[in-house]
Subunit: 360 residues, 2 copies
């Protein structure tokens, strides 16, 4: 049990929250007997400073030779105009690892988080979907043109790129009985790439997932429906890189201390994956011990679940986090970081979570 990890803490609050998440992993190792070998390296701004590149070929090679990459966050104002930018390190890792199916769940780990949502409780309560963002194609990769007076990003999809990502959605839907509904979000009323996407998605589902209902949903109107009736999409949503980027930011953070783990689900069991929290590197609060470690710890849970098949341990971590977040509501002490309206620091919040994990 266990495996080889590459840990890329990244910039600013990245290292702060990654350190705390790894303490939770220590406890899990003890509890489960699993062993996780950990190699640490650079990505983003810290890599730019040392190697003049957002990620080195050496690190990219390492990514290919581990069981999972555990990523913090990259970027900050000090690399504002650098070429390449820190974020490109993450993009290159995703591409090298062929992390084509980026899984971005939207659900509530805890009662108190439902109440903290900017959206009214009656509307958001019970929301539970998995948004799968295609993450190696579309407008974010390919032959870009950047000139003085002209810029172009070809927004393109090939059959194979569409097939493999919608298959992940189909397989995920089939893990439930009865199977979950799958929505494919596109702009087939305007974009050629969306029309090809829509047609091929239906071909795959008709042939390979006849029991799963596949519905088409325009991406713009989904952005509205995420606010007005998000529970209508309980199930699986699969969409292209651009729409997925925007829609997952919309559905992620307000819903919960979100996590955006990424997963190249090419085979059951031996998946190599990349796990990263939803938030950025938060340069404004870095170095002060104020960052909320929850999203990074949730990414750890997702890593255990999807890369190491450790469902019990993943459940345990998620439950521990819910207990900490709901502690005040349940008559206990409040341990919450500033973003959640509390006064706790990173370490205090992390220790509360570790304590809960040990108890469970």
């Amino acid at each position: 049990k266990g495996g080889k990890l590459l840990v890329l803490p990244g910039d600013h609050i990245g290292p702060e929250v990654v350190t705390e998440a790894l303490k939770v992993l220590d406890i899990i190792e003890e509890y489960s007997g699993a062993k996780f070998e950990r190699d640490f390296d650079l990505c983003g701004g810290s890599s730019l400073d040392k190697h003049k590149d957002s990620v080195t070929e050496e690190v990219l090679k390492k990514c290919e030779n581990v069981d999972a990459v555990f990523f913090g966050s990259a970027g900050g104002p000090e690399w504002g105009t650098s070429q390449p930018n820190p974020e490109s390190g993450l993009l290159r890792i995703r591409h090298r690892m062929q992390i084509f199916a980026n899984m971005r769940p939207c659900n509530f780990a805890s009662k108190s988080m439902v109440r903290r949502s900017p959206i009214k409780e009656g509307i958001i309560r019970g929301v539970d979907f998995m948004l799968i963002r295609e993450n190696c194609g579309g407008a974010y990769y390919g032959n870009k043109i950047e000139e003085e007076d002209y810029g172009c990003d070809p927004w393109e999809y090939r059959r194979s790129e569409i097939e493999r990502v919608v298959r992940v959605a189909g397989a995920l839907a089939m893990q439930h009985d009865p199977p979950l509904t799958v929505w494919s979000a596109d702009k087939a009323n305007v974009l050629a790439s969306s029309r090809v996407w829509r047609r091929i998605a239906h071909e795959v589902f008709d042939k390979e997932f006849p029991e799963v209902t596949l519905r088409d949903q325009l991406a713009d109107s989904l952005a509205m429906l995420f606010i007005t009736k998000p529970t209508a999409f309980n199930g699986v949503i699969v969409t292209d890189n651009t729409f997925g980027d925007i829609l997952s930011d919309e559905s992620g953070p307000p819903a919960a201390p979100g996590h955006k783990p990424t997963l190249g689900a090419n085979s059951a069991g031996g998946v190599i994956g990349l796990y990263e929290p939803v938030h950025g590197s938060a340069p404004d609060i870095s170095g002060k011990g104020l960052a909320n470690p929850v999203a990074q710890v949730l990414s750890l849970a997702m890593m255990l679940r999807y890369s190491f098949n450790m469902h019990e341990e993943a459940d345990l971590i998620e439950k521990a986090i819910a207990n900490v977040l709901d502690s005040k509501e349940d008559g206990g002490l409040e341990v919450r970081t500033g973003d959640l309206g509390g006064k706790a620091g990173t370490r205090e919040m992390s220790e509360a979570i570790q304590g809960e994990v040990k108890k469970l």
Copy 2:
């Protein structure tokens, strides 16, 4: 005073709500002495049925020769697989008229609408921004490739396309004293077209609008911030066609019975514009007299304001609508359509608005 209108009611509820909006225009004519010559024609599914095309060359020519086009809505399931699709009529009109700056306001006309938002009142109260969507370029136009196994939409921008739309944002900001802040939303951390957009936007503002603060905002994170702190963007937002499509659907409807008027602001005063409500053609309720006419009437107000410089009349219509929507809260009768939790039909709601316009 007044001018020539081309009215394109379109499909399903389009004609129902356009008819009611034009009754409000009748009252305005009487009140102001302005005369609006009205020509009616087809666009969308109704044009497909009659002419086998979503819009004819004749109608496109007419669009170029009127002072404003008043548009209802296009589309419906009966034209599901037609080539071209009904929506393409609207896209072609926008392009022919060079409606490059599509203005999509987000604000609350009325107290009761603030309370009806899915977002908590404390967060949404006071939101007031104008989102300007570039609407003739980007991934929505250009040389698309659509093959059996491959689709591509070139997401491209030229200097001239960027300059003219960000100028509209600058000019709008300058109409206020002190000038409003302008946010330019892009994905310059990933897209070449966004990097060119960002650079040229700053060039234009530095040179032509030195008094206006221009801020860059990543489009994905804006989708999140629209929910968590929308009032932080009070002012003007300018963004490309794709981001604008998604972000305006997100900010439009939940905020208010929204309107999405479009405006090619090439010169003050003599602007030729296209005005359309935010909603679609709502085939599920069409023909039943149930549609809410408010968005179409708000589009009329916007037309009077931006194409005919009739600010007083536009204010008056907006005030009348607020009065009707708030009537119950103010101790009066409730007149609201089903989408707003009431029992009124299209005509009843429209008559209430007409009555208020007459009173004011």
